[in-house]
């Protein structure tokens, strides 16, 4: 392959004087300062995801009032999916707990109340009596989601679930199903919803 030599002459008089280039640079930053003629590089995605422009067309999102809307593949807080009749999809197979590298899922199985409705489906025979995820230990890798044979556990887009105590950071079945209710239409942040647990 032939080598192509490009010579860039940076030792021109114009560059040597500095002042011309400095002036150009100052003009550019002034445009950003005054918000005229210079588009923020961040503006487009912010606009798309936040549903509206951020305050003053700046890239900053004013957090508690405005919230960033994550992309659909975002791995946030877990939820336990339910079927059409509001029964948990989880069959307590413990695949997720096995796959979990942080060992933060605890499951205790029992015979499910709806076991008789599926006489030919051994999969629905069990359901979790206790299903707990310690989100303080979780590393949000999404392995549980991948391991699950029933698409019962999923990671949602929720990112702001800081808690005041360690106990509150353990999500039980009830909470995880509530998260499902809040996020099933994928519009948690667009609709301005909040997690209504004790934190």
């Amino acid at each position: 392959m032939a080598t192509k030599t490009i010579s860039v002459d940076i030792k021109t008089v114009k560059n040597d004087v500095y002042l011309v280039e400095i002036f150009k640079g100052l003009l550019l930053t002034l445009k950003h300062f005054l918000k005229i003629g210079a588009k923020s590089a961040y503006l487009a995605p912010t606009e798309r995801r936040a549903g509206k422009l951020s305050t003053n067309n700046r890239a900053t999102i004013q957090y508690p009032e405005e919230k960033w809307v994550p992309y659909p593949q975002y791995r946030g807080l877990h939820r336990l999916n339910k079927d059409e009749q509001d029964r948990t999809k989880c069959v307590a197979c413990e695949m997720c707990a096995t796959a979990c590298p942080a060992d933060c899922i605890f499951i205790e199985a029992e015979r499910s109340p709806w076991a008789d409705e599926f006489p030919n489906d051994p999969k629905r025979e069990k359901h979790p009596k206790i299903y707990e995820i310690d989100v303080l230990r979780c590393i949000f890798c999404g392995f549980c989601e991948e391991a699950c044979p029933c698409e019962a556990i999923e990671l949602t887009e929720i990112y702001d679930f800081a808690a005041y105590s360690r106990e509150n950071a353990v999500y039980d079945k009830e909470k995880l199903e509530r998260v499902y209710d809040l996020t099933k239409d994928g519009k948690f942040y667009q609709e301005g919803r909040k997690l209504d647990f004790e934190f």
Partner: protein, 355 residues
């Protein structure tokens, strides 16, 4: 009440005013720096504390004061403790010679307690006749703070930072001094009050544009601001001369840096933009109101240059060290020499422009 007591009272008042102005100014400039840099980068900056972030600097100050004051074991204790003071003191001392407003005529002073025979009140703490020399010498004391800080910490990065600062200061002191000589030639005096008066009667010294440009660049270097902040560049030297300072001692360095910014801007204004001179207006025409206006105009002019400092900092990259030396010795020095000679020749040719 005799004249001495009067003078004393007014001097104390003036010192209080200048110190308050500088220190309050510092908090505002720090806030402005953070906000403006944010705007330049399409962010918002601190906007929560008090009204739109006005309290941010005070909150930061409280944080710095209550933080644990760590003195590392390996430092040279005395020098370590002295450095922030040596840095801070000259920064505040410079304010002493800057005239910050028009003279208040004796008839306008209504303070009845002070007796009837008041003299004209000059709004300048000390109108010494070597004001410019005072400025040049006091600013160069500031670099001792940096050098001492860098030396005391016993680590190579701080020492390198201090070394760079001192070399840079020496290189840029020359063009700075020479461009001031051009101003002195035009004004025919070393006293700052006189320099302002000459500009007020004639044209502002911005007329001598090359001298202004050299002075501006040299002042950027003297205040260790980007693009000349090689003494503390994070990428190479961690934080340079203040790497191992914590809590309010670090705060003192910060304070001194911004106080320097304000006083340097005040000097640029005094030397080249007519000081407190309000263009096309006779400050003595409306008594006290006119004097007040001159003080406000002076503050506005300073604000513009502070903005320029901030603006340049967030626009330009840092010079490489050899480029810095190249610029200082091979460019600015000849230019400033030529400026001095040129100004002298022009002053002889057009004698009646100023005198």
């Amino acid at each position: 009440m005799d004249a001495f007591t009067q003078n004393l009272i007014f001097t104390v008042l003036k010192i209080a005013f200048v110190l308050t102005f500088t220190l309050l100014g510092v908090t505002m400039v720090i806030l402005a720096e953070r906000r403006f840099s944010a705007f330049i980068q399409d962010r918002l900056g601190p906007n929560r504390t008090w009204f739109g972030g006005l309290g941010q600097s005070f909150a930061d100050g409280i944080k710095l004061i209550v933080k644990e004051d760590v003195i590392p074991n390996h430092v040279d204790r005395l020098v370590y403790l002295l450095a922030p003071v040596v840095m801070m003191t000259p920064a505040l001392m410079i304010g002493a010679v800057i005239p910050f407003g028009a003279t208040i005529p004796s008839g306008e002073l209504w303070l009845p307690l002070l007796g009837a025979n008041l003299e004209n009140l000059v709004l300048q703490i000390a109108n010494i006749n070597v004001g410019i020399l005072y400025f040049v010498s006091v600013t160069s004391i500031g670099v001792y703070g940096i050098v001492m800080g860098g030396w005391a910490q016993n680590n190579k990065y701080s020492l390198l930072g201090a070394l760079r600062a001192s070399a840079q200061m020496i290189s840029y002191e020359l063009p700075l001094g020479l461009s001031v000589v051009a101003v002195v030639l035009m004004a025919g005096s070393l006293s700052l009050g006189e320099i302002v008066k000459v500009q007020q009667e004639g044209f502002w010294f911005i007329l001598n544009f090359p001298a202004f440009l050299v002075f501006l660049i040299a002042v950027f270097a003297e205040t260790n601001r980007l693009p000349f902040d090689l003494a503390e560049c994070e990428q190479e030297l961690v934080a340079g001369y203040h790497t191992e300072y914590s809590s309010m001692k670090f705060g003192m360095f910060l304070l001194a840096e911004y106080a320097n910014l304000i006083t340097s801007s005040a000097f640029i204004v005094t030397l080249f933009f007519g000081g407190w001179d309000v263009p096309f207006y006779d400050e003595t025409a409306h008594g006290l109101a006119g004097v007040l206006l001159s003080v406000i105009v002076f503050a506005i002019k300073i604000s513009f240059f502070v903005f320029l400092f901030i603006w340049v900092r967030w626009s330009l990259p840092r010079f490489r060290y050899d480029q810095l030396m190249h610029l200082g010795w091979k460019r600015l020095l000849p230019i400033s020499l030529a400026t001095v000679v040129g100004t002298a020749i022009l002053m002889v040719l057009f004698k009646d422009l100023y005198h």
